[in-house]
């Protein structure tokens, strides 16, 4: 059996000599069979294989570019050079984008068209993202509801949505639901709210910021600062004296007071909005309209207008020129509507067009910012026969949609395409998100709830302090992946002809024939989006890992 003696180091004869003392052959062999050497060798072989493969592909690519794609790199001076790959982007786009928020006309450059496409992608994606979060949460919670009908319906929704392709859902929604809505003249108006649903999309009231909004905004920021200060002050006082106080309540109250004061101040100091009107119209301020109207119609009170016959009403109706969808329009329209004065709006694309109508008499007045009116008045034959009447303005006015002849004007319009894509993305991804939310809530064990109850926390405190933080840890990573998928799937807008970055790129390719260059831009746009979301996810994971320790 074995000895129990301790061998002194270095004394044993049967240890092989260290590598540096071995023969040259053995050493070379041991280097070759070194696992690190083999690993590096394998990788270099892999790289070489890739290079050879790429060369095979790209040799075809080179000659094919020569054959098919030489025209892709033509400079403006007609020469061939790679640096001119993107020169074509400065040429006129030549196609329309129906639904833009930035000003775009078809004579703008390819770059600008593409920018509009990118903006559209974000416009639909971000809104759908918010709506998905809300709907998904509601559905996830409903799935766990103790009401049998609620949870079954939620289950049916989730199963149906998750087992059908988003493309078919989108097509069904667009062609069979939204385009099947009534014509605009019979638009649906749910609950008498200023919202109209028709096959021209969704038209709804929309806030517009007047020039005085800047002042009001300053007050709002002041209100937020106040909130912070109040919070810190009350917290300190609480720590000092132990006196409990409703920090949120006080903060909101302070904020509201400052906001209201700011509203009135900014409304009273502003003098930006005006109305260009003939001097002989006997109108010096907006309040005069009522009297003018009464004398015109020969009535004693404005409410008698309703009793007038159609032709007479048309005769007394004010003809107002405005700039299309300008805040001034909403402001003046609201002002007249509040006083019950009948009017007809003529919307113009530019001040010059409005002035043409003003001059030929097809409209009696022109409502716009004072600076524009002053400049336009100077172009009139007799500037002194026309005056600019100031109109009071509030920092924010609602542009409210209203029927005019067989159309609805005012408000903001979500085109059927935008609306369908937005709804389709929301409904589809909310189905997935509902499962995520459900799993997140279920992941908080019952023991946690019991522990919270044992500590005497209220239901609200339990939800806020115990359940939500833990559930969110489970929910947020898949939530962010859902967001990423949603942003990528905005490209399905092509199915309903919504002009997002993908469809615009496709049009650009057809227009210019430069497939390669545009593909690269398109990929970069989507990769940037995905990198952004990955970065957010990593940041969140890192943060959670740290707080968990």
């Amino acid at each position: 059996m074995a000895q129990t003696t301790v061998n002194p180091p270095g004394s044993d004869a049967n240890i092989p000599p260290p590598p540096e003392e071995q023969g040259i052959g053995a050493r070379v062999l041991s280097y070759i069979f070194d696992i690190r050497f083999l690993g590096v060798l394998g990788q270099i072989a892999f790289i070489l294989l890739l290079i050879i493969g790429a060369q095979r592909i790209f040799s075809n690519f080179g000659s094919n570019v020569d054959k098919l794609g030489r025209a892709q790199f033509i400079c403006r001076d007609g020469r061939f050079a790679y640096r001119c790959a993107y020169d074509f982007m400065e040429t006129q786009a030549g196609f329309d984008i129906d639904d833009t928020v930035l000003d775009y006309v078809n004579t703008d450059s390819f770059w600008w068209a593409l920018t509009n496409g990118i903006v559209n992608t974000f416009r639909v994606g971000l809104l759908a993202l918010i709506a998905t979060t809300i709907l998904g949460t509601v559905m996830g919670v409903a799935r766990l509801s103790e009401n049998w009908l609620v949870s079954r319906l939620s289950l049916a929704y989730i199963e149906i949505i998750r087992n059908t392709p988003i493309l078919v859902q989108l097509l069904l929604l667009y062609f069979s639901v939204i385009l099947a809505l009534p014509d605009i003249k019979d638009a649906l108006q749910p609950f008498n709210l200023p919202i109209y649903l028709s096959n021209r999309g969704l038209i709804m009231a929309w806030p517009q910021f007047m020039s005085s909004a800047a002042i009001w905004l300053a007050f709002l920021i002041l209100g937020i600062i106040q909130f912070q200060v109040m919070w810190v002050y009350l917290t300190r006082r609480e720590e000092r004296t132990g006196q409990d106080s409703n920090k949120v309540g006080w903060g909101i109250a302070g904020f509201l007071i400052i906001a209201v004061i700011g509203w009135f101040i900014s409304a009273s100091v502003s003098d930006n909005e005006g109305l260009l009107i003939a001097d002989n119209a006997r109108i010096d301020q907006v309040e005069d309209f009522e009297n003018v109207m009464l004398s015109r119609a020969g009535i004693n009170h404005i409410s008698e207008l309703e009793t007038l016959p159609e032709e007479e009403l048309t005769a007394v109706t004010l003809d107002v020129c405005v700039l299309r969808e300008s805040p001034s329009e909403a402001n003046f329209v609201n002002r007249l509507a509040r006083n019950g004065i009948p009017f007809k709006i003529s919307r113009n694309g530019s001040p010059a067009k409005a002035m043409d109508k003003y001059v030929d008499g097809s409209c009696e007045m022109f409502a716009a910012p004072v600076s524009i009116l002053a400049a336009e008045r100077a172009t009139l034959e007799n500037p002194n026969d026309h005056i600019i009447v100031p109109i009071d303005e509030q920092p924010l006015v609602w542009s409210i949609p209203r029927f005019e002849r067989f159309n609805i004007i005012g408000g903001t319009t979500l085109t059927p395409e935008y609306f369908a894509l937005f709804l389709g993305l929301t409904i589809f991804y909310a189905g997935g998100l509902a499962e995520v939310v459900r799993a997140g809530i279920l992941s908080v064990s019952k023991g946690q709830t019991e522990a919270a109850r044992a500590l005497g926390l209220s239901e609200g405190q339990r939800l806020n302090l115990i359940v939500l933080p833990q559930a969110l840890r489970v929910i947020i990573p898949p939530l962010i992946s859902t967001y990423l998928s949603l942003m990528k799937d905005t490209s399905l807008g092509v199915a309903v002809a919504f002009q997002d970055v993908y469809l615009v790129s496709q049009t650009l390719m057809n227009q210019s024939g430069r497939a390669l260059q545009i593909m690269i831009i398109l990929m970069l746009v989507y990769l940037a989006i995905s990198l952004f979301f990955s970065a957010v996810l990593n940041w969140y994971n890192d943060r959670v890992v740290i707080t968990e320790r």
Binding site: S59, F61, G69, Y82, L167, A180, D489, Y502, Q506
Partner: protein, 584 residues
């Protein structure tokens, strides 16, 4: 709580609060259900208001239906209340109490949802059944006179929906193929059932099915793609490529234990190649007039057939690629050391800088050779800066060494997976179609769109599969790797015998999900001009016979996709139960 009714009669009154306390207390009831908090008051009144409005409107629009719904609701509520007040609960009322009417707001919510469901179901019913026509003979001007659906179009346009642009006289081949595949599936299903697996004929059935599966690629090819009737009967290049690709897939799947090959089946499989050739020859000789199994261009496949072919092809191809990518991403090999990388990087940078500022050529390809001297031809500052693009090479090298420690396998897999996952599928499909002509040899007739889409789609799906597989690999405890290492098993054997079988078993549900996902998102190929199930509707709608009949088709597809997805997910659950096995 439900149990309060029967237990704890002697507890103090505070304990008995709640809707269903034994002693009903009206004050407590109101407080718990309505006036408990401001939020509750608002919520309950809101629900009540909406209910009233909806009821009022519905009594006007559809009195019969509304009376029934409201009546049922009222009676059940009444029953629950009576059961509650006089503790007379029977099974049904107890269930109702617990699941429908456990608070005032829930009772109101139940009514509201019942009314809404009534509206939707009645609307769909009247559109889809009552007012609908099922006459396939009915065509354009007449179908529009109906208020409801004209389901006849689905029967009338069945050829387009099922096989797209395929010539009608060839559709029997598709039917034959479908029957063959379904029969094989049924045989496998029977052969692997618990009751039959051990019996003699069960084994026989299973073996027969296995041989059938091995032959199925040939059968599919003959049935769906057809034969060349002139020498050399089949394009040898296509045969070789097909053989290599198919063997590689089967080999990898076999190697990683996804499928099992016994020596007998392997031998049969090897023999099946000459057998298939003889079969080929036999058909062409026997049917020399080229009536049977003539060639069909893949671009003529369409409708449901194309959707199914895509789903099968892409899933089969992407699983092995996904496994390899996942292994690459987890590869723990010695990185390429900096003293190899930096000299190469610096050399390349120098060469690139020289070419783009002084020289005039970086390669032997003539098209890439002209005007590479960006500096000399630059027109503005931006282009001058771009001329120094080779400086990105050291930057990339630095990032590579920092993030991946020189591990190229990992870097390649990570970049591949992440880039592909960052881009929408439809962009990849479009790119595949647009870019394919640039990468193909000049003498080729060009890749048909079908194959281009297959390539793009497979690349996309394998990235997602790779991430799934990686998740499965991560779920295997470290001890499994160590135990394998300590036994002296080499890396390949380790993955083949120990890691992947376990990982793939964990992965059955998510992989089934991925298969369904691929099936569903194959509808996107319609957006790049393929005539698949969704794409065929475009042709049907444009047909003057059925002008404008979209909704019927979309609803049909909606239901079809739903059914198929549900069946696959049911089947995967069954598979999971069968392999998940009660043995753990």
């Amino acid at each position: 709580m439900a149990s309060v009714t029967t237990t704890a009669p002697s507890k103090p009154p505070v304990q008995e609060r709640g809707t269903f306390s034994k002693k009903f207390n009206f004050n407590y009831f109101v407080q718990d259900n309505v006036t408990g908090s401001r939020g509750l008051i608002i919520w309950v009144s809101f629900l009540a208001l909406i209910n009233l409005g909806l009821l009022f409107q519905q009594f006007n629009n559809a009195p019969g239906r509304t009376w029934i719904i409201f009546g049922i609701w009222a009676v059940t509520v009444l029953g629950t209340v009576v059961g509650e007040l006089f503790t007379l609960h029977i099974g049904a009322t107890r269930w109702l109490k617990e699941n429908m009417f456990n608070s005032v707001s829930n009772a109101l919510l139940t009514l509201l949802l019942a009314l809404l469901v009534g509206i939707v179901v009645a609307g769909l019913w009247s559109w889809g059944v009552v007012n609908a026509t099922f006459d396939p003979q009915l065509t354009h001007p007449d179908v529009r006179t109906f208020d409801g659906a004209s389901w006849g179009v689905i029967w009338g346009a069945r050829k387009l929906l099922l096989t797209g642009l395929l010539e009608p006289e060839q559709s029997w081949r598709v039917i034959l193929w479908t029957v063959t595949i379904l029969a094989l599936w049924a045989l496998s299903f029977i052969g692997t059932r618990e009751q039959t697996r051990e019996t003699r004929w069960g084994t026989l059935v299973r073996q027969f099915a296995n041989v059938g599966w091995l032959l199925s690629p040939f059968l599919s090819y003959i049935f769906l793609a057809g034969l060349e009737y002139t020498e050399p009967f089949i394009d040898p290049r296509r045969l070789i490529i097909g053989t290599i690709v198919f063997s590689a897939i089967m080999g990898i799947l076999w190697f990683f234990k996804v499928i099992q090959l016994t020596p007998i089946t392997t031998a049969l499989w090897v023999l099946s190649w000459p057998a298939a050739y003889l079969m080929w020859r036999g058909i062409t000789l026997w049917n020399a007039n080229a009536e049977l199994f003539t060639t069909i261009d893949p671009d003529r496949w369409g409708g449901l057939l194309l959707t199914v072919i895509f789903a099968i092809f892409v899933n089969l191809l992407s699983l092995p690629i996904g496994i390899l990518l996942a292994l690459g991403r987890r590869a723990d090999v010695q990185g390429i050391p900096w003293w190899i990388l930096w000299p190469v990087a610096i050399g390349l940078t120098a060469w690139g800088l020289y070419s783009s500022t002084f020289g005039n050529c970086i390669g032997t390809i003539p098209a890439l050779c002209e005007n590479v001297n960006l500096w000399a031809t630059s027109r503005n500052t931006v282009e001058q800066i771009v001329a120094f693009w080779p400086l990105l090479i050291p930057l990339a090298t630095w990032a590579f060494l920092r993030s991946f420690n020189g591990n190229f396998l990992q870097a390649f897999s990570v970049l591949f997976i992440e880039i592909i996952r960052g881009v929408p599928l439809i962009t990849l499909l479009f790119m595949a179609i647009i870019m394919a002509p640039f990468f193909l040899p000049e003498d080729s007739q060009g890749l048909s769109n079908f194959w281009a889409v297959i390539v793009g789609y497979t690349i996309f799906t394998s990235s997602y599969t790779a991430e799934l597989v990686r998740g499965g690999l991560q779920a295997i405890p470290k001890g499994q790797y160590e135990a394998a290492d300590s036994l002296g098993i080499n890396t390949l054997q380790k993955y083949r015998f120990i890691i992947l079988p376990q990982a793939l078993r964990i992965l059955i549900p998510p992989l089934a999900g991925a298969v369904i996902g691929t099936f569903k998102s194959s509808s996107l190929v319609a957006l790049v001009g393929m005539i698949d199930l969704v794409g065929s509707t475009k042709a049907i709608i444009a047909n003057s016979q059925w002008l404008g009949l979209r909704t019927e088709l979309y609803v049909f597809m909606f239901v079809l996709y739903f059914l198929v997805s549900s069946i696959v997910s049911w089947y995967s659950r069954r598979l999971e139960e069968r392999t998940g096995l009660g043995v753990r």
